[in-house]
Each structure stands twice: as structure tokens, then as C-alpha cells.
Amino acid sequence: MTAAMRDWKAAIEATSGRADERIQSIVLALDNTDESETALPVASKLSELYQAVLHVAYVGESTVKRREKRESFNLNDEKTRGAVWEQSSGDPAEFVVRLTRELREPLLVLCTALGTQRGKNRFGSMAESIFALKPQRAVLLTPERGIKPWGLRRILLAHDGTPISHPAIGPAADLAQYSGAEVIAIHVAARGEERPKARGSLAAPLYVDQPQHEWPAWAEEFMKRVVAGGALRPGVHFKLKVIGGQAGSELADVAREQGVDLVVMAWHGHWDHADCATRVVVRNAGCPVMLVYSEG
């Protein structure tokens, strides 16, 4: 690159002034159940990785004093050092979402079992209510993982090739950079679905005239977009994988098979039916899932 080109790029970067979107607050939503507590190791680790302040938002039904809560959750000092404890007032879901909106660059962490009224294939009522309010970034996990410690070595970045998926790229790259984890960018060539029509979409090719040329070119193109989407960070190692099938179940299968620690995916803000891909991934991936809200 010539000096003139370097100057040009530097000037554009300086002028376009990208905001620092590094997570600064982790909001852990807890009620007074053991299930909700399973989110703690994840929230705690994320707080450490981001060097963010951990806010514990208590949304249990009874008012409990802070000290009692800490005792009842059996939270030791190591896990909650520096945590800010917030007591809910009013509607619990609105409280959590309001809190995340008030904080700078927040990330919400919660267990799918938060709340009590659960239908088949539905999450806890409070989790459902919180997500109905479309938080910008949230990590969801199922209670099956228990309270065992959580680390981050492998991240699965789900990308359907549409610009709507792009917002997931930066957060995946951020975490990979902070943790040293590798990122597997996965694209599911879906059956039973129309090709995305959004401008700039790059779904798996419909025509593969000569695979020896198409696939390397497609992979390069895909990764260029991933890089342009914010993935180019020092030390971040990306892999690309394409599989065919139903998006939700395939993603979950790969997450389990590859021993993934976190799935990162864009979320359009709705999951009306129980079998939508996002729910399927959250339920079956066997690891926490970071949902990054993206207007679709």
C-alpha cells in the first residue's frame, strides 16, 4: 500500500468516527431459582473478558435484602466481586430492559428458565417477556449446563449471508480477541427456504458450475464480508464451514459436535413460533447463545 493510500484510509477512519461499542456492563438477570443462577458463571466470565461491570438484576417475586440474596444464591465473593446489585421495581421484564438501556454498552445474560410459567418449548415467562422487549445484545442459556465454570475457546458465528446477520460479526470477533477463542463462521444452506432477497445478501451459491472454483471464491467473498463487518482483529482465527439442512437444528448439531462454548447470531427480534431457528439453537446448542438484535 502506498503512502497516499495509507493517508486516504487513515483520513476516512478518522472522519467516519466509528463508535467504541465494547461491552461495558453485564446485566445478569436472576430470580430466586436455582435455574436462573446457572447464568452466573457465564456472566461472571463475560464480565472478566470484557472488563465490564457486572450488574445483578434481581427479579424474584419476593423482596429480599441484598445480603440474603447473596447468601441464598450461594454466590461467593470471587464471582461477584465489584458487582452492582439492582433490585427490581415494577414489571420485572421492563425493569431488566430499562436497566440495560440506562447502562453504557450493556450485555444482558439470563437463563431461559427465568420466570415460572413455562409452556412446551417455551422459555420461562420472564425470559419471554424480556425478549419481547428486544434487548440489543443478550446471552441466553438453558439451565441444563448447571453452575459449572464456563470458559471460551470456540465460538460459532451463525451467518445466513444476509446483511441482517452482519451485526453478529463484531461481537463474535470482540470476544474471540479478548479470549483467544477461535471463531467458526457457519453458513447453513437451507432447504425449505427461499433465497434471501435483501440487497447484498450472500447465501450459498444456487449455481455451482465448477465447485473447484466456486467454493474457494465464495468462501473468500464470504470472509471478505465478515472481515468488512468488523472481524479483522489481531489474533482472531476464523474458520468457515457450510452445511446443508434446516438452519436451527444444523447449527445446534454443529455446536454440540464441535464443542462450541458460545454461539453468536443475529436475532430479528421475534420468535413467535416454538420451532423458529433461534429457539431451536438456544434450546439445543448445549452452550450459551449470544443474540445480537438486528432490524430485519
Binding site: T2, W8, E194, G200, P205, V208, Q212, W215, P216, W218
Partner: protein, 817 residues
Amino acid sequence: MNRSLFPIDIQNQSHSFREELQQVGNAGVAALFPGDLCTQNPQWLLVDEGFTMAREPETESLFAIGNGYIGNRGSLAEGSPLSAPATFVAGIFEQSETPGSVPELMLLPDWTGVRIWIDHEPLSMQCGEVLEHRRILDLHHGTLWREWRHRDREGRITRLVAFRLTSLADRHLLLHSVTLKAENHSSVIRFESCMEAEDRAVSLLAPDWKPRRDSARPNVLPLALRVPGRDTTVAFGLTSHLLHTGRVAGRRAMHMDRGQILEQCEVELEAGTECHLHRIVSVFTSRDGATPFENSMRHLREVVPRGIASAVSAHVSEWETCWQTADIELEGDDTLQRALRFAAYHLISAANPDDNRVSIGARALSGPGYKGHVFWDTETYMVPFFIHTHPPAARALLEYRYHTLDAACRKALAAGFRGAMYPWESADTGDETTPEAMIAPSGEILKIRNGEMEVHVTADIAFAIWQYWQSTEDKDFFVNCGAEILLQSARFWASRGEMEPDGFYHIRHVIGPDEYHEDVDDNAYTNLMAAWNLQRGSETATLLKTNWPYAWQELSLRLRLTSEETDDWQKLASVMFIPFNPQTLLYEQFSGYFNKEHIDLKRYEPRSAAMDTILGHERIQKTDIVKQADVVLATFLLWDQIRPDARGANFRYYEPRTGHGSSLSPSVHALMAARIGDLECAQSYLRQAAEIDLGNNMGNAAGGVHAAALGGLWQAMVFGFAGFRAQSDGISFAPKLLPHWRRLSLPLLWRTRNLFVCIEPQTIRVSTPGQEPFRLRLEGGFEINACGGAAYIAERTASGWGAWQQVRAERGKDQRV
């Protein structure tokens, strides 16, 4: 107050850009808008409104410009994070030293780079607010336009209009012009006009090469580089003129080294005024002559004094001439009309009739996809377009195969065969360039067997040569080039198969056009085409002996061909194993195909990917899913030798089993559906074929346009819906219009005649200039001995078509006005 434009260039004779544009347009061309210079008819324009960065790779491909010698992607001059500007010169392949690497079309320095600074702030889509932005590809004039209105962070509004072209009249000449207007600000504007070579190219420059300037033309900046792995040099010469209406003359600085040219021009612009930067670039390579640098300098010395207007005018005129014989007009479907012009535009942009040592790669010169390699696509899907619109281009493409015949013979010999075995993928030398392995999307490493097994390419080339010969009667080509290929390809087929105890000649271990099934025996397409090739080889020998005995004598001696050998070809053709069942009327695609697991493709619809991606490489081989037209393609190409009742039967059998995993497939299905009269099916496939690039969501236009699919679209219209067939003694038509089409008119070149065909729902009219009579046929059996200079019309009747009636030719009806 109007001020005269002040040229910064030292040439006193410079016109202003505005004046020059006016000369071209013969009207008051507004400097900031395309005006008369850009075609106004929307059916000739491809417009990309706004700016979506993620879509930039596809947009660059679709908006590529080219002239068969050089191609350039439609990138933004200032770039963006997803921009991939690229310039390619046909035939300039580089070869890496990495083991297992194959030659690839070299990415040459981007000559379109212009960065603009306004009071030291970059003018970029990434900063500030884009108020208006569009790219317009003028298909009629082969010109790429850009209009951009931008408000920066300081509220300064700047308007920019730019155009560029690769001259079709002078293939070494490239033009780029930028007009900038400071709408509401007075600022210092700095243009950085640049051209940069990639580091790897620079490091391989000839050691004795130094940046040189021509003392007679100090404004001309040169850049030369050596092609890695080849003894080839490419030289660029660039000259820029900055014209503006301000009072203060600008400052100018130039920087050049062996890797880049950078010219900085700075002007002070008052609010409401404009300035113009126009750049003239000349490109030569050592393939064109021993001294590319000197050629480039000499070229600019000739071009610059004549001015940009003259160059633009010649280019526009050349494009208009091309369209006279290439434009299909369709009334009643604007989307398809534009798609047809888009297809012809890119095909014309890809071919160079003056260079018979290059061919058209799978993505033409519009992108790096397929490394610029040439496949059967060119002969089967693109050459027919050129045969009937611009035969010299078709001849050049076929001569490329003649010049690479030695490599094909080497390949045959190395594989243990005789004659010529053409490579599956070919580049500059004609040697096999198919990569040996690939990493599948699943991560699996797969061996690529096409180079070894997809042998039908040899017959496809022979087929195209015969079509050209039949349609042009170009004796010089046939005797001096075509015949040898026909003979050597027939000889290959005579050695590729085996006579077996069943008394048939079998060809085993092949891959047919349906590449989902590898290493199959007796692929119907391959065997049918091989038999055809053997027959034409024998016929060629007879033709030469009868009409050009000296040529036969020379050729037979050189090739050590005997009459016995060529007679044997006929015999082998007659015992070729053709897996046809007269009861079912079906050709079995290959031995054992009918036993494959049946998959109902409808169960997978809608789907967002090719079937092999969904099912996987191993699984799909066990199914009856066909990748692309295979038997169906054979029934089209060998129409006259396929039983009429078998044509439709095979289409109806294979069509529902075809996954269309190749961009070559929809057009052939549209064509065949039209021919057998299934118009609903034909319409559906025609739409698919038209959307392969323009649909923008197929996932692989970034590497360039699908040149063969574009040729296929043209064929679907001409050979399918118009039902045109060239025969040994004449031509025939079987028109089938879709219900909403009001008129389909097309020019066709056939045996030096410029035919003009106009089809309406109830009539077909064919004008036939020229002298020699020929047979003019129409579906249903009516035919007439057509005389030159007349027009013939037939009307649809309740049962089909009526007889031809001769009428007087009329200007406007029988030729383009």
C-alpha cells in the same frame, strides 16, 4: 459569470471537456449529467440506485466494461472496504511457483483510481451523507456512468458525475472522466489520480526496467510490469487533464516509481463552479509487440491530440454497429428485454475478433472467477451467439482452439490416447489447468477428476467448429484450421473407447455434463457427441479429398492419416453404444442411471442452495438428481438425429430430475421447453436464466458475470422461442411467443446474409438480402426457395402456420432503421 475552462495540461490545443462532450452529443450536453451522451431509453440502461456496500462485489461485476482486449470492473473510483477493483487483459495469465497452482488471469493495476479531497477531507461514501448515488451502465454505448451527490460532515455538498469506457474502436484505449461541482462551498479540491501495481507483480519487473518518461510528452506517466511466471510485460501510459473554471491555476505534483503512478492536482473551486478531470490510458503488452512501453507512448501521442471527443465518438459508433447485428428487440416484456441486452452487451465486451490466441473465460473479463479459464462453455454456449451476430469473433474464438491443438495432442498422448484431447480448463498455453483438488465447504478435500474424465469438451469444440463452418461457409477457416481439429478430435474418440464383446463401442470412465455423477460409463451425451464427431471427422476427410485435395494431401501426410482410418471412424460411430430404449423413447443418461435412488426434488423446494450442497458430494452421486441439462442438451444439439417423439419424452423425464446446479441449465431447459411447445415451462426457465446475474441473490456474481449463461439466454430466444435452425441447405423457424409478447425481432447472420426476422403472434416475416437462393422452412412443413432481396411472410392458421408468401422488402420492416 462564465469563465473559460483552463486546462492545466501544458498542451495548448486542449479542448475543454464540456466542448468535447458537446461535439459528441451534437447538443448542449450538461457537464454534470449524462445528457445526450448517455442513452435515454431505460431498456438500454442498467441502473444501480443508492449504495449498498455489501452488494459492491456483485455490482462491480454487473457493471463491468470491456472490449475483448481489456476488461474492468465497475468499482468505485475511490474504493470502499468491499471494493475489488480489477483490470484484466485477455490472455495475460500469471503462474505462481507454488506446487499445484494453475495459471490465472492476472489482476492488473487499477487504472480507474481517483481519490478526491475537499479541504483535506476525503470524499468518501463512508464519511458524511450520501444524498444521491447511482451507477448507470449504458449498454447501448458501452459506457459506465456514475452520479453522486454528497454532503460531508461540514455540510459541503459536492456533486460528481463520472464516466469511463474501454474503447471498442481502439482496444488499447481507456477513458475516464470525472466532473466535480462544489454546490455550496468554496474549497480546495485535490484529485489523486493513481494506478498501483500489486507488490508481487512489481518485484518481478525486468531488472533493467526503470520508470521512464517521454520527454516529448512529460504529462504521460508510464507503468510497466512483468507477469509472474511468464515472459510477458504489460505497459500502461496515463495522461490526465484537469480543467476548471476557477481563476487560480492549480498545483500539480507527480510521483512515480516502479510500482505506482500518482498524480496530484489541486484547484481552488468557488461555490457553484465545477472542474473536470479526464484521463486517457493506453495499454499494450508484449503479446501485442516487442516494445509495449514504446507502443503505449506512441499510441498516446496519436490519441491525445485528436481529443477525447473523437475517441468517445468512435467508441459509441462501434457499439452501435455491433448492435445492428446483435440486438434482439422484444415488445411486451421490459425486464427480459433489458436482460437480453445485458447478455449481448457482456458477450460483445468479452470477444476480440482481432486476437485469435485468446478465448473467453467462464466469467469473461468481468471478474477473477474461474481464474479466467476457458471451458466447454465458450464453444457450446457463447460461440453460437457470435456465429450469428459477429462471425469474425466466432472465428477468433475457434482459432484459439487451433492454436492450442498441440497442447490437446500432448494431453491425449500423455493419457494414452491418440489425436487431440482438449483440456477441461484451458488458459494461455492450452495445457490442462484444472486444479487437482479442492477443499469442499464441508472441509473435506476432494479430488477433481474433470480434467481426466470430462472428455465431452473435445466433441463440443468439434461441434462448434462444424456449426461455424455450416453457418458461414468460411472455407479458409475450415481448410486451414477447422478440418485439422475435426480430424484430430475424431481420432481421439477412436482411441478413447473400446470395442467390447457385445459388439458395441463403449466409452467408460467419464463425466458427462451432469457432473453430480463422476466416473460413469457410456454417458449418453458423451457417446452421442463422440459418434457425431467420428462421423464429422470422416466427412471432413471426404470433403477435403473432394474439394481441397492439396490440403488433404498435406494434412494426411502430416497427421499420418489414411483413408482406412477415417473410414473406420464411420464404422465406430455406427456401433457406438447409445443407451436408447425404443419402447420408452428414453436415453439412459449413463449405465446404471435408472437404478439410482429417486429423489423428488419438489420436496426440497423452495431451497436456497444447490442440491449437492444440501445433500453432500457423496450422497448426491447415489441419487438420480441431474446437475444440468445432459440428455436434454444432446437432444437440442443433435436435434435432427433424435427421433421427434423422443425429444419431448426425454425432456419430460429428465426435467423434473434436474436440480439446475449449474448456471448453464435453465437456458437449455427454456430452449427445449419452447421447442416442444411447453410454453409455461419455457417461461419459467427463461426467467431463471435471465436472473442468473441480474437476480442479485444467486450468491456468486462477485467473481464476474456468468458468460455462458448469457450466451444460453440468447440461444433460448433464438433457437428456442424463434425456433431458428441453420441447416445444410437453408434455415428454418418454429416460432413460439409467450402470450404477453407482442413482437420479437432479431437480426441473424447466416452465410454472409444479414437476415432480419420479425415474429408477431400471428405472423413471421423474414427478410433475405443477398443473391443466392436458399431453402426457407417453417414448422409444419412449409418451405420455399427464398430469393435474395425479398421478404417472406407467413401467417398463423388454426392448425399451425400457413405457407410462405413472398412480399417486397420494406425499409423499417425488414431492417433496422
